[in-house]
Symmetry: C2
Subunit: 391 residues, 2 copies
């Protein structure tokens, strides 16, 4: 286990009806807030109404920034920051999925800075102060609700960057699983793939830590189990609750600290997301993970996959190679069962391929398995389900 | 999963040499501290010297209260609180095992109160403020370093009480596994039994939570593995590190929140510890746990034990009863292998038995398995390895 510093001071209200404590917590942050949200799903599931009611009750003035999309753009962050400066906003309240939360977190930083938002995304060390951040998470996926990262896109530059800064950690997070019950199976499945990807990226690392690996396996098994349940019963509270809590712990650092490593699939996912912002992060990862694992196996790094096959998938083949192949096949089959498409439906030109490869190569040199240009091209081709790409 | 509020803002410095950041953290708390420690083991392992050096370097004045013993007495807390008031102490620095940390935590509360220390132990709601608490943990056991409980004894009254108050949570904890390498096998084994007891008490509860149960199993497997390693290699850094981190997470609330329950074995352990303060907490628990589990099995509550047998001990018997009996036997054998004695070497008179039973009965009525007077007497008799007790 490597040395580390653990610190996750986020206070989490978890469970049915917990949003009733929102007003009380917000008054600790100020009396003027900016509510950041997406396309309106929080109006459909009642979350918006509860937020507004809480704020009225506690005499909190609320400004609104809605319309945050998947792969939130830095322009949205700038708009939010301007609103904050103009109206003397004292805190950010972001309600929705990971994109909304990330956007809100970055607004909290940009509102307290003279520089541009994109500058802060690229140079997190320039973030010196942030507005207090309170979040209401409505989907189990990114774990942004208990994490100090914000992933922001710059669509005009075709870039997508993960900005990590301890100040971005939400002060308070509200997690009521009932608000995630209306999330459709497609987004639920993509969320599960996202959580699983965080667990896999952490698990497979040269740095070993017995405790963190056993806990990681337990979290992964929880994802498998919850996904199976939700396929047949999308409003199963226990499955929604377990998945929502797992999402936080897959990403908040706990399983990663003491066991550092490089995240290969997320490098691919961010670069693909930058170039194809219509693709969801979880979908991309569900396509990449089995393909990347197969390359890990090919390179002979089977030791950890044998543990993973045994403790996660209950596979105990006599020959290690059989175990690991069975485990990867089970993961692939699992994603299929969840209805995930198995490949990415994009037109990838040779020029795009060159650009993607150029961006990915330098980021995967110190990875668990170093990838060549050939490996990267192969993963990309397999991911779009084509042997060749057009000019 | 039941509703809960999660909040563990303790900052943890984990790993070799991390105590080098002590001075920097202490200066955030003030310039006058009280160092609380035990019998001097921190002088032998170099921890004391590092603490003093750090304080000198950062011009922090340090008063000392040494001699804290197993089952720390409330008189020691009073002494510490008086020292704090007399010298204008600004923070508590407790360095050692769980007893030292608990004593230091309670001093931090008593120093800010007009009432007696025992009053605060009995009525934690009267704790309104505490001095900042910084801890250096040197043994994997109680988890006090990341938990808001302090267990304090009142030897003159033969009482031992767990005082729970969120203000008692350490602000910063330093965990350097190398300081635990000099802990002998007896105390190491007792520590493992203590950690395992926390995990078992949490695991077996009417409230179910899939994630927490899977993580609990992973933490338990970590204990098993580390204990085996340390038997042959007491200075194995990885085993010491994993055990030390597991101790924190077995007790800090994370695995318990969402899955509340009553802790039967700790009721017995605290009452036995109150009457026989020479017994170590971990030793008592290693004796009680298998006996209690057998009663759980007898009462037909085998469902959770089957999961536990499978996921912790890798037992997959066809008949559930065979699985659970095998698992309990493996736990018992494991404690034997660690050198734990298997029964308590005390003279238990009939009068003591009556007194213990009188104290225990009201505390185990809402337990996972409600215990009768007969059950309690049986557990106690089995624990001392005798069929009858003398007058």
């Amino acid at each position: 286990m490597e040395n580390f510093i653990y610190s996750i001071p986020t206070k989490v209200y978890f469970g049915r009806g917990k949003l009733q404590s929102l007003g009380e917590e917000l008054t600790q942050c100020g009396s003027r807030g900016l509510l950041v949200y997406g396309g309106g799903s929080i109006r459909e599931n009642g979350c918006y109404q509860e937020i507004v009611g809480q704020c009225e009750k506690h005499r909190i003035a609320l400004w609104e920034l809605s319309g945050v999309t998947v792969n939130p753009d830095v322009q949205m962050v700038e708009m939010g920051a301007e609103l904050c400066k103009e109206h003397g906003i004292e805190f950010i309240l972001a309600a929705g999925g990971g994109s909304v939360l990330d956007c809100g977190k970055m607004i909290a930083a940009a509102a307290k800075s003279e520089g541009t938002a994109w500058e802060l995304v690229q140079y997190p060390e320039r973030i010196e102060a942030v507005l207090p951040i309170v979040v209401v998470s409505t989907i189990a996926a990114s774990g942004s609700e208990m994490d100090y990262t914000a992933v922001i896109s710059n669509k005009s530059m075709r870039q997508k960057v993960a900005c990590g800064c301890k100040l971005l950690l939400p002060r308070v997070a509200f997690l009521d699983p009932t608000y995630s019950m209306t999330v459709g199976m497609k987004a639920t499945a993509e969320g599960i793939a996202d959580i699983m990807s965080h667990l896999i990226e952490i698990y497979f690392s040269e740095s070993r830590a017995f405790l963190q690996e056993r806990l990681n396996e337990g979290a992964f098994r929880t994802c498998i189990d919850c996904g199976k349940t939700l396929l047949n019963a999308p409003d199963d509270y226990e499955a929604r609750a377990n998945l929502m809590w797992t999402a936080c712990w897959a990403m908040n650092g706990f399983l990663r600290w003491g066991k550092p490593g490089n995240w290969t699939c997320h490098v691919f996912a961010h670069e693909l997301g930058a170039m194809y912002p219509e693709l969801s992060h979880g979908q991309i990862l569900s396509v990449l993970l089995p393909r990347w694992l197969r390359i890990v196996v090919e390179r002979g790094k089977t030791g950890q996959i044998v543990d993973w096959a045994k403790n996660v998938w209950d596979i105990r083949e006599e020959k290690p190679l059989q175990s690991v192949e069975a485990a990867v096949a089970m993961l692939e089959r699992y994603f299929q069962d969840l209805g995930l498409p198995g490949h990415l439906d994009i037109e990838l030109t040779k020029q795009d391929m060159r650009e993607l490869t150029r961006r990915i190569v330098p980021q995967v040199q110190n990875a668990y398995v170093a990838l060549t240009v050939g490996d990267i091209e192969r993963i990309l081709k397999e991911s779009i389900g084509k042997q060749s790409v057009r000019e």
